[in-house]
């Protein structure tokens, strides 16, 4: 990215003043190296977001931002319904409520040594992953409606998990306002056999070791200590979310002119929050969020069953479950007072700090955990929402390392078998149905997650708590 187009606010924050049709500035988080490495498309895309009606304060990108479609991945923007604000299917993305759930195991790394290979094999057999995989649960129409309204609460009612899990999930496992009737027949068909499946691409289930603690207080509150083993599950709303995104993107792009909206990029397809289609999308998208929460709940249950075979005492409580492709209604202090806003986070994580009334009780004093995914061979991180006032970027932080190379470039540079063998030499077991998929997801295809985490910390988006290194990775 051409840095001369940006004003440096601090070492970790850059600004583009409104120009052309931009209604607000664009603010980019990242150190000089991360910003310079970003594609110019990121700047173009966040500039386009800043043109949308009803946008409040600024359009933001996180340190892991990269070229997306419409919104950049790692984009955050909030809209005020009282100011003609919009809701955007492109601002949420196809994988509605894709997110990360982390489970504590109570185990240390050495506990795994004698059974690591068997545990990896068992997880790979049990967790449906990759193209063409199906879950064991097939939902009829009535049960589908219940799932779309109930989210993780529905899954627990079906026997997949424990009631206390709900205390450790955003929205307590079930976002209100879902409208299953707004979810099409085709979206339901795509989900029919996909409950409890991981998906493919960058989705994973990873067994990880806590290798460093940066914040003793927050780590203790989260139940984390050096040497601990945790399990992180990264996936979303599967075919149902993809189809909802597909359908509303098209409909919103085609109907935008009728709402007087001139789209700088078709993929920013949006509609006024208070329009019929805007409300219908919110109802469908919230159903998609509940689908993702139910999906991660079922995968949690499958994971617990596998661990119970090897470690009968390991209960695998949920540390937290965060989503990073959403639009949520939240209260925020803005440049013009406290307002109820629709905050889009596409490839960005909510990062509420201590004292936020909508935090689960377990995190009221610390702030919420924020999970930053690394890659199969590079560290992930657990951070905590910063309690800064004013909040940064509507209390948001990054969600992953962000890609450095495209899938195309990665598959030309690496062979899957080579990646698996190299990681095995470092003690990391990779299980996947697709060697080409592994090549596309090679650690070298991703940016340095350490730099992304460090910048998020220094910029005050969230604070470092713990570093996680992969031990076993189940890839789709």
């Amino acid at each position: 990215m051409d840095l001369s187009r940006l004003h440096r606010i601090s070492n970790w924050q850059w600004r583009v003043d409104p120009e052309g049709k931009m209604r607000v500035p664009a603010v980019l988080y990242g150190d000089e190296g991360l910003i310079a490495e970003m594609d110019d498309k990121v700047l173009e895309q966040i500039g386009n977001v800043a043109c949308l009606p009803g946008i409040v304060d600024a359009a933001y990108t996180m340190p892991d931002a990269h070229w997306g479609y419409g919104f950049p991945i790692g984009g955050v923007a909030a809209f005020d319904p009282d100011g003609g604000g919009v809701v955007s299917a492109g601002g949420v993305g196809f994988d509605i409520s894709c997110g990360v759930r982390t489970l504590l195991t109570g185990l240390k790394r050495q506990d795994l040594e004698s059974c690591k290979e068997a545990l990896a094999d068992s997880l790979f057999r049990t967790i449906p992953a990759g193209v063409g995989s199906t879950g064991k649960i097939v939902l009829d129409e009535i049960e589908m409606d219940r799932m779309l309204e109930g989210g993780a609460r529905w899954a627990i009612g079906q026997g997949y998990g424990r009631a206390e899990d709900l205390d450790r999930i955003e929205e307590h496992g079930c976002i209100p306002g879902a409208r299953p009737e707004a979810v099409s027949h085709r979206a339901r068909q795509r989900q029919r056999e996909e409950m409890g499946t991981l998906g493919s691409g960058n989705h994973y289930l990873e067994v990880q070791e806590v290798t460093a603690i940066s914040d003793d207080g927050a780590a203790a509150a989260f139940g984390l200590a050096r040497g601990d083993v945790v399990v992180s599950i990264h996936c979303g709303s599967r075919g149902l979310g993809h189809q909802i995104g597909t359908e509303f993107l098209r409909e919103m792009a085609l109907t935008a002119p009728a709402h007087g909206i001139s789209l700088p990029d078709l993929e920013l397809a949006c509609a006024p929050i208070r329009s019929e289609i805007g409300q219908r999308f919110l109802g469908a998208m919230r159903s998609g969020i509940n689908c993702a929460l139910a999906n991660r709940q079922i995968l949690t249950d499958l994971t617990r069953r596998v661990f119970a075979h090897f470690f009968p005492e390991a209960a695998l409580p949920v540390l937290f479950d965060v989503s990073h492709n959403t639009c949520k209604e939240e209260d925020h202090e803005t440049g013009s007072g406290r307002r109820r806003l629709f905050v889009h986070r596409k490839g960005a994580t909510r990062a509420f700090g201590a004292g936020r009334p909508d935090l689960p009780a377990a995190f009221a004093a610390t702030g919420q955990p924020v999970f930053i995914g690394g890659s199969m061979g590079t560290p992930s991180a657990i951070m905590v929402g910063a309690a800064l006032r004013p909040e940064q970027a509507f209390a948001s932080s990054c969600h992953g390392a962000g890609r450095r190379l495209s899938r195309h470039q990665a598959s030309k540079r690496w062979r899957g078998r080579q990646v698996v063998d190299e990681l095995r030499e470092r003690g990391i077991i990779i299980k996947s149905p697709s060697m080409r998929g592994i090549a596309e997801e090679a650690p070298g295809a991703y940016k340095d997650s350490t730099a992304v985490v460090e910048t998020a910390h220094l910029a005050g988006l969230s604070r470092k708590v713990a570093t996680l290194e992969p031990l076993i990775c189940i890839k789709g």
Partner: protein, 148 residues
Amino acid sequence: MTTPALGSAIEPHAELFPHDADVGVRGIGPTRDSAFEQAALALTSAVTDPAGIASQEAIEVTCEAPDDAYLLVDWLNALIYEMSVRRLVFGRFAVSIEGNRLYGRAWGEPVDRARHMPTVEPKGATLTALKVVVRDDGAWVAQCIVDV
């Protein structure tokens, strides 16, 4: 002696083009129908090698859209839907476009994870880098980014 129509010498082919997180699919051919067929082939090649797919089953797709660009997105999304719901991969396509209506057929077989080694599941065809155009040499180009 007759002069060949512009574009008639274009060899139909499918390409993938890079995108940071996802993948671009591009079909090039002497006609619009051909470019759409090749774009579908590019979609498959993002998942697996189309040459390794047997034509055991055929499905039919009909789409209607306000312009060629939306028609391409609808065509690819219809295929993504069929791949997802029927757990199929397709290796051969036939497209016929009349006005704003597309009639398509796709031939393929159920996903065999051991043999096809599928890489990613396409989530949806996007409106990004979307275009259906005729190049100066007469070739039709149909392309967009697919979220995977």
